[in-house]
Symmetry: C2
Subunit: 432 residues, 2 copies
Amino acid sequence: MERSYYNPIEVAPREDLRILQLGKLRKILNKVYKKVPHYREKCKKAKIKPSNLKTLEDIRHFPFTTKEDLFVDYPFGLLAEPLEKVVRLHTSSGTTGKPKALFFSKRDIFAQAHLIARSLYMSGATFRDILQNSMTYGLFTGALVMHYGAELLGMLVIPAGPGNTERQIELMQTFGTTCIHMTPSYALYVASVIHEKGLKPGKDLKLKRAYLGAEPYTDETRQKIEEMLGVDVYNCYGLSEMGGPGVGFECPEKKGLHLWEDAFLVEIVNPQTGEPVKPGEVGELVLTSLNREAMPLIRYRTRDLTHFIPEPCSCGRTHVRIARILGRADDMFIVRGVNIFPQQIEAVLMSIKGVAQNYQILLEGYDEMTVKVEIDRDFFDGRIERLLKLKEEIAEKLRQAIQVRPKVELVEPGTLPVSEGKAKRVIDNRTL
Amino acid sequence: MERSYYNPIEVAPREDLRILQLGKLRKILNKVYKKVPHYREKCKKAKIKPSNLKTLEDIRHFPFTTKEDLFVDYPFGLLAEPLEKVVRLHTSSGTTGKPKALFFSKRDIFAQAHLIARSLYMSGATFRDILQNSMTYGLFTGALVMHYGAELLGMLVIPAGPGNTERQIELMQTFGTTCIHMTPSYALYVASVIHEKGLKPGKDLKLKRAYLGAEPYTDETRQKIEEMLGVDVYNCYGLSEMGGPGVGFECPEKKGLHLWEDAFLVEIVNPQTGEPVKPGEVGELVLTSLNREAMPLIRYRTRDLTHFIPEPCSCGRTHVRIARILGRADDMFIVRGVNIFPQQIEAVLMSIKGVAQNYQILLEGYDEMTVKVEIDRDFFDGRIERLLKLKEEIAEKLRQAIQVRPKVELVEPGTLPVSEGKAKRVIDNRTL
Ligand SMILES: [Zn+2]
Ligand SMILES: [Zn+2]
């Protein structure tokens, strides 16, 4: 593999990266302390000020920024620049009624676009590629931020937006799409429609890469999509609070995502105590935006669970790697006292031969869990025993993985509701 | 009014503009002749070549480009640059199944953004303004192109997209939106919802300007929207084939739209003969993109009907003015042998007191025309005579304007289907 980088910072020695980070962190802490009263108050309560930061490690003494802080003095409370400098609003649906309001300056937009361009280039994309961007354009960062970055790299961007799967496939055929950007659940669905139409991806389509993000998925799902579409799937990570996609991206080694440390200070903490975890231990990702102009966030609690991959990456990039997101702290549900992430169930299902693309988790009654699973059509040929065997296999493997044995219902492909954006996997109707 | 311009080219003497245009036209004709086989063939058939162009007027001897030409060697046939230079696809729904495919280079995107920035600045907008962009983001040019231009000017852009009127109004209230960009029919609907909620635009909202385009509308509609929302409405013109919005824009005089002649060569021709019309006479707008890099179009037949406004504009800008679009050559329908544009009917309706925001034209039977009109709710108070009088007034005024007396049906507000994009005004169920 030829070594080629979009920006030499990608392979900077870690000592240099850390010096760069410390300089930027000092600057941004000073700025936020000076310009954002709410954060200054928090620092004062914690009896700390920017001049107390001597080393990068000292950051752990500074207050976190949480989702709740985004709603203090809403919507402009955390701005560190006058509103006139802001050129973009993005929102992110909160659990409460009001959406999170995230603001960006021209420089912020441009900086994030460069991170995207760097990430796409890392995956092998160039100005010769054609990217079909099937995320939702608008207030969500997913589509627009990727759009700007791909355009900066010189890719031909097809701003398809989500949905209308027939048209998506037509666009791929007509314009020779080589890369797609969508959610993993929608990619699975598009792949199944392509197969139903009898199209051969390697022959009738020119797809080479799929960039999948915005919801967690398993490596089994990745493999399934890679096989069905004949593409390399790259995992991408981002959140609106940190400027959208482009925060982290897989390199061709596909062993974890590099987080761009010239732009973000990365911590993983124990979600209960807030203390740093040991290397390799799972915890909550905490990010500080080192470049953000309009609305820098210090130690933002992402709610995303992951762990560091401490070994240096053989691609040569020195920026820290994390495992794919294992779940949102908020996605977790509890059945019979056991903490369960939808991703654990997905991983099991996708590893079983005969299981198709879609599934749903139903919680009912006094603590009953049913997993509805679409399976290949040819299972419904009347051979009941074969069907029962598959059902038993699924139930037993799930029990081994999550310590709870769910009811399993097998259904034909196309039975469960299809999501064109983020899949709603868990339906909780319990009478608890 | 203070005189201030985004670009001094806006007030360049016409002689200078024409010299600039001739130079650019030569260059672009040479490029297209050399690089686009289909256009070269058309020129050869017409026995003309770029070196025959001595003056701007000589353009009339060159072949037109029509909608149909866009489907020759589809989709890449009219590209004048290698595909690698293209960074954007936009499409425009054709009457046939395939959409028109329009391609743009980085330079094209940037150039159009500057035209938008110039146009918005002309209307009084600055980096202090907050633009809620409620057009559809994606393959249509409407939203994305305006987005780029407003961002270039430094406005805070809220990429709201269309629909979800409750949320639109919430965004206006939460973020202090000062400018909106939407279709006129949706603006009327949003205005009516704002009134139903009892919100006072001057007090509860900070709206100052509305940029309305993507479908033709009348000056009466403009006045209605201006009154209901307490805004200045600016008419904007564009089409995907010419890079989207930003082709023409009203100045604060609001007497016609300036077309930016440093970017477009403007002709108005008789749609039947293709010959230039006399100054002030209605005809089809024909545009040549003078700056386009990826896909320049020579003498593109827009199908839009308008006329020149020959008098110099008192705003000081020297770029030619056209009247608001009077209709699409394709929107015209014929009833009892008479050519009618929906806009003629709209103009009459909006001038009548008691008429509300929505209407629909129904063509049925052997050539029956019915106009369904929403009227103010207080007309349905049981006073039949008052209702009949309004009905008669509408029918008679329509007869005077279009020479056909339609049946008129009066309905309560909210009865007719609401469009969140382009309104479908004419429903043709005739058994002819
Ligand atoms: Zn790597
Ligand atoms: Zn003017």
